[in-house]
C-alpha cells in the first residue's frame, strides 16, 4: 500500500463480516431450559450471534422477536409436550407474514410421527435429545438461507 493507494475504495470494505444470527426460544410453559441454554452457548462458541428470549414464550412473541432481530434461524426448544399445538402456529404466522427465509429448527422430546408432521409444515429439522451439538451447529451453518 503506497502513498497514493486508496484506503477505502468501496463501502463493502467498511462492513464487518456478517455473522449468523439465531433466535433461541423456549416455546410453551415448561422451564426446562438446560438444552436451550447449552445450545445457545454452543452456537455462540461457534461464532454465531444468539438472541435468547427466555422461557414461557408464546408463538406470537417468538415470531415477532425473530422479525425484529432479523435472524437467519429460529431454534425452538420445547419439552412441555405442547409442540403440536404451538409450533404449527409459529409456522402459520411466518407464512402469513410472507417470511420464507428464516430457518426453523426444533429441539425437544418429539415423537417420530410428530416429527414427520412438523417437517411437512416447514420445520427444517427436529433435534431429539442426545443430538450432538456439532450436528446442530453444522445444520444451521449449512442451511441458513441468507448469504453471510
Amino acid at each position: 500500500m503506497g502513498r497514493n493507494a486508496s484506503l477505502l475504495s468501496t463501502q463493502t470494505e467498511l462492513a464487518p463480516k456478517r455473522r449468523i444470527k439465531v433466535l433461541v426460544a423456549k416455546l410453551g410453559l415448561d422451564g426446562h431450559d438446560r438444552g436451550a441454554k447449552v445450545v445457545a452457548r454452543a452456537l455462540k462458541d461457534a461464532g454465531m450471534e444468539v438472541v435468547y428470549t427466555g422461557i414461557r414464550q408464546t408463538p406470537e412473541q417468538v415470531v415477532n422477536a425473530a422479525i425484529q432481530e432479523d435472524v437467519d434461524a429460529i431454534g425452538i426448544s420445547i419439552l412441555s409436550g405442547a409442540h403440536m399445538a404451538l409450533i404449527p402456529r409459529v409456522m402459520q404466522m411466518l407464512k402469513e407474514k410472507g417470511i420464507d427465509d428464516i430457518l426453523v429448527t426444533v429441539g425437544g422430546t418429539i415423537p417420530t410421527d410428530d416429527i414427520v408432521k412438523l417437517k411437512s409444515i416447514g420445520v427444517a429439522e427436529v433435534f431429539i435429545p442426545g443430538t450432538p451439538l456439532s450436528e446442530i451447529i453444522e445444520f444451521i451453518k449449512n442451511n441458513v438461507k441468507r448469504k453471510q
Binding site: 477505502l8 463501502q11 462492513a15 464487518p16 422477536a65 425484529q68 432481530e69 432479523d70
Partner: protein, 309 residues
C-alpha cells in the same frame, strides 16, 4: 417505504443493512436522516447486572400508556474468542414483543470499538427517521463505547444498584458521573436509602452531573414492583423539556452525527491498520525489527504511518 408505515420486517431489514454498513445503507441512512431530529434519545447505563433491562421494560409500559412509539437498542458484548455473542437483554422486555408500536433490537459489540458506537448511533438515526418518539439505548455499562454512545443521548439515566459499597466511587468512572437522572434500584431495601443519600451528596457537592443548568436528580425505584417508575418517566420528560428549551436537544443531534462519523472513521482506521500489519510485508519487516530490538517503537510508528497514509 413500508418501513415508514411501521412494517416491522422492513424496519428490521433496514437496521441490518445499516448495522453492517452495507453499501445500500448509505442512501437509506441519508433519506432517514432527512426526516430525523425529533426523537427523544434516552441512554440507560449502569454497572452490568444493575437491572437496566428490567427498568427499560417498565419505562416502555409508561411510554406506551401515553401511546408513544418506542424503540430499544440493547447492546451486548461479543466473545473476544469466538466473536459470537449471547444476547439475553430481550428476556425482560419480551412482553412488549407483540406490541406493533414497540421495536426492540439487540446488537452485539463484535469486538470492534468504534464500530459498535457507530452502528448504535446510526440505528438511532433510523428509528428517529421512522418516527419513534422515544429511543432507549441500553449499553453494557463499561468502557469507551458507552461514553461515545451516551454523549450522543439527550437524557442520560444512570442506574445505581445499592449495597455495592461506596456508590460514589463506583459512579466516578466515566459515563456514570455525567448522569442527568440517577436511579437507585431496589427502593424497598434498606440499602437503597444509603445509596440515595450518597448520590444526593455527590450531586450537591458537584461531583456528579454535567456542567449545565440542569441539576441532576436522584430517584428511588423498584422495577420489580413498578414503584417509582411513573416519577422516573415524568422526570425524563421534564429533562426533555429542559433540553428543548436550552437548545441541548439540537446540539445533541449534531453531536450524535459527529460521533457517528468519528466512530466509523476510527473503527475503519483501526481495522485497516490491523489488516495491513498482518498482510503488508514492508510493515511486517518494521514490526520484526521492533521485536528484535533493532528499531525503536516510536520510530516505527512514524515509518508505518508514512507508508499507510
Amino acid at each position: 417505504m413500508s418501513a415508514l408505515k411501521g412494517d416491522q420486517r422492513s424496519i428490521a431489514r433496514i437496521i441490518s443493512e445499516v448495522e453492517y454498513f452495507n453499501p445500500s445503507s448509505s442512501e437509506i441512512l441519508l433519506e432517514l436522516m432527512k426526516m430525523s431530529g425529533y426523537s427523544h434519545v434516552i441512554g440507560i447505563t449502569g454497572a452490568p447486572g444493575s437491572g437496566k433491562s428490567t427498568l427499560i421494560a417498565r419505562l416502555i409500559d409508561e411510554f406506551r400508556s401515553k401511546d408513544l412509539k418506542v424503540a430499544v437498542i440493547a447492546v451486548d458484548p461479543s466473545s473476544p474468542f469466538s466473536h459470537g455473542a449471547l444476547m439475553g437483554n430481550r428476556i425482560r422486555m419480551q412482553k412488549h414483543a407483540t406490541d406493533p408500536k414497540v421495536f426492540i433490537r439487540s446488537l452485539a459489540t463484535r469486538g470492534y470499538r468504534g464500530g459498535i458506537s457507530a452502528a448504535t448511533l446510526a440505528l438511532v438515526e433510523v428509528f428517529d427517521g421512522l418516527g419513534y418518539d422515544k429511543i432507549l439505548i441500553e449499553t453494557i455499562g463499561v468502557g469507551q463505547t458507552d461514553i461515545d454512545i451516551m454523549h450522543a443521548a439527550h437524557t442520560i439515566v444512570v442506574l445505581v444498584n445499592p449495597g455495592t459499597g461506596d456508590e460514589i466511587q463506583a459512579l466516578k468512572a466515566g459515563i456514570m458521573e455525567i448522569g442527568d437522572i440517577y436511579v437507585i434500584s431496589k427502593a424497598d431495601k434498606p440499602e437503597a436509602e444509603d445509596a440515595f443519600k450518597q448520590v444526593l451528596f455527590g450531586i450537591e457537592g458537584g461531583i456528579l452531573g454535567q456542567e449545565s443548568d440542569w441539576k441532576p436528580t436522584v430517584l428511588k425505584v423498584s422495577a420489580m414492583m413498578g414503584q417509582g417508575i411513573k416519577e422516573l418517566a415524568d422526570k425524563i420528560d421534564e429533562h426533555l423539556e429542559y433540553a428543548k428549551k436550552s437548545n441541548r436537544f439540537y446540539q445533541q443531534i449534531k453531536s450524535r452525527r459527529l460521533q457517528t462519523l468519528k466512530s466509523s472513521l476510527s473503527w475503519f482506521i483501526e481495522n485497516k491498520l490491523e489488516d495491513s500489519l498482518k498482510s503488508n510485508a514492508d510493515l511486517n519487516n518494521i514490526i520484526e525489527q521492533v521485536k528484535s530490538g533493532q528499531e525503536s517503537p516510536y520510530n516505527a510508528v512514524l515509518k508505518i504511518v508514512k507508508k499507510l497514509f
